[in-house]
Symmetry: C2
């Protein structure tokens, strides 16, 4: 195995994700030399000695091989270039699944949210993910209960692509209640982790994992989040990586939407209500732009002030002569006559024996 | 009666609200001369001749007196100065109720929305209006079914101030199904109109009325609006008058929130979920600012990276010696010992006979 690959595999077992000191070292002297220094354990790097003492990268690679996982490092054709643009890229990625990682994340969206989601949130996550997957977008999430699981399932249900990013080793499904789901994602999509096989999912690794979910994708959508949801940490990472963030609103009476509403109020997220609006947010300008939501257009929507005043002056229940309309509309007789002609052509009024009345329309709503 | 008062009363019967030509005339030559020219009916002003022919301002004043309504014109102590700052102010206002109009609108918010509101929307409108009224804010709305009615009722329920702005004459309750509600508003709050008594509520007058709802208040809150709701017209007027607009989100599955969501997406409105956030939007800077919504703060929220890594390395179920924690945390022994001391003081870990374990906390949520 190439020394760079091996060094990165070793770093992913010994050094915590997003370790600032080692990140700086890799950036300046390269992974091979950085790992040599970590192994030597001089100065501040002495803190890694206990882990280096039990390091067995060959065994980690064996574990990976047993679950069909491969190691992907910067420079590999499969390495997602997008990861080179985040503040602290991973040393490497451990990848399970048959899809090409770089191709699969090219058009991808993170769909995330609370573990304790409501039925509303889970249904929306499923629908949004399904709709995105049907339009060729990969749905990336964290395989957690609640919104994450619903998002993966929504993509799988329409035979779409989905990626689960785990906080622990790629060989151990977490949460264990999602073991079957994660197996299915490994079979049909991709399951990835930045920590080596054998690594346990710990709180700090969840937070680091969230930066990968945000960093791998074109943008992040929060479907439901309570005020303390970990998905708000994913939003922080998306903002830090200059990726757009969308948040789905919900009832203000639901604490599970309070985190989304707060992200909309503080301006880190844009409000999204549909697959079109998500694609408008994360897609290519022009190709993917959504139209503003509009109600149906009615014939009396764009009348001039004069025509509107004349239409207002024509009664609905009984037909009246021109003079009545002139008096009521307060416009000159000739003006009113011309307006009535235009309104008649729009199907808004009807004339019979010199008298006029409104024609039945679908009732317009004044709120 | 002073000529200016009388002229304005007459204009409010003959000329439609917000008539651009007559507005320009009043602004340049004053109300008395403007009304003289309207009465003379030369040139384009000939369109008012049929209405001038049947004009009887003394009778309109009598009708007003019978329902206890008074005429308020610019320059009166009761005239709201705020109305002088909107693009087309009314000629005058017809006012029912004992409150002083200028004082009552000083701290006021418009609470508006669809006539065909949902239970969610009506409950929220009632609660918001009640909360605003309790905090000394006047709730202004249009007395329509749905959100408007709920807003008025919410203010009345806590003995707060509320103003109904009608599209027709101040003596005719519209909609008639809200006659009792409008009487109660006239008794406890104010009912106002810019058109003279005897004027019918017509579509164009509803649109003009919306500009008064927006113009009288410090800001407008849309609680529920379908895409074609008339309350979106009120938003347009508020934006034109440079007043802040808030919109309450709701389920994306509800068409009655679609107009609110569209106003949030197009940037005309700011998302609001509570009375505090409404007051933050429309109130005085500093006095009325709302804190961002936050979840409860936990002892492990603001740990340094080292302390967080050490805490991660301490097991919950069994107690372990320092060396185990040093190996797992990948920090120097002295560093780990110092961190454990800090974590113990925060009540996060506990020591017994040289071994350490986590103390039970309320389970943190990772979304």
């Amino acid at each position: 195995m190439e020394p760079d690959r091996f060094a990165r595999a070793a770093l992913s077992r010994v050094v915590e994700p997003a370790d600032g000191e080692v990140h700086g070292l890799v950036a300046t002297v390269g992974a091979v030399e950085a790992f040599e220094r970590v192994r030597a354990g001089a100065g501040t790097l002495a803190r890694f000695r206990p882990r280096v003492a039990v390091l067995d990268t060959e065994r980690d690679l064996d574990i990976a091989a047993k679950v069909g996982a491969r190691l992907v490092v910067p420079g590999d054709p499969e390495w997602p270039e997008r990861l080179d643009t985040i503040p602290v890229p991973p040393w490497c990625l451990w990848v399970r699944g048959r899809l090409d990682l770089a191709e699969t994340v090219e058009r991808s969206v993170a769909v995330v949210g609370s573990r304790t989601a409501t039925t509303y949130g889970e249904q929306l996550a499923t629908e949004l993910a399904g709709g995105l997957a049907r339009r060729g977008w990969t749905v990336v999430s964290g395989a957690a209960f609640g919104i994450d699981g619903a998002a993966h399932r929504g993509a799988l249900a329409v035979d779409g692509a989905t990626i689960a990013v785990l906080a622990g080793g790629v060989e151990r499904p977490y949460p264990s209640g999602h073991a079957a789901l994660i197996s299915r994602i490994a079979a049909d999509g991709l399951v990835i982790a930045e920590v080596a096989p054998g690594s346990a999912p710990m709180k700090s690794r969840f937070l680091a994992r969230n930066r990968l979910i945000a960093g791998l994708t074109r943008g992040t959508i929060v479907v439901e989040a309570d005020l303390r949801s970990g998905s708000r940490n994913t939003v922080t990472h998306a903002v830090a990586a200059c990726r757009p963030v969308g948040a789905v609103p919900g009832p203000v009476t639901s604490m599970m939407s309070a985190g989304c509403h707060e992200e909309l109020r503080n301006g880190r997220a844009v409000l999204v209500t549909s697959v079109d609006e998500v694609i408008d947010l994360v897609g290519d300008l022009g190709d993917d732009a959504a139209e503003p939501a509009r109600g149906p257009v009615r014939p009396d929507d764009n009348l001039s002030p004069v025509d509107a005043a004349v239409l207002d002056a024509v009664p609905f229940r009984s037909a009246v002569p021109l003079d009545d309309i002139v008096r009521s509309a307060a416009h000159a007789s000739l003006t009113v006559r011309a307006a009535l002609g235009r309104l008649e052509r729009l199907g808004l009024v009807t004339e019979s024996a010199g008298t006029w009345r409104k024609r039945a329309q679908r009732k317009p709503r004044a709120g």
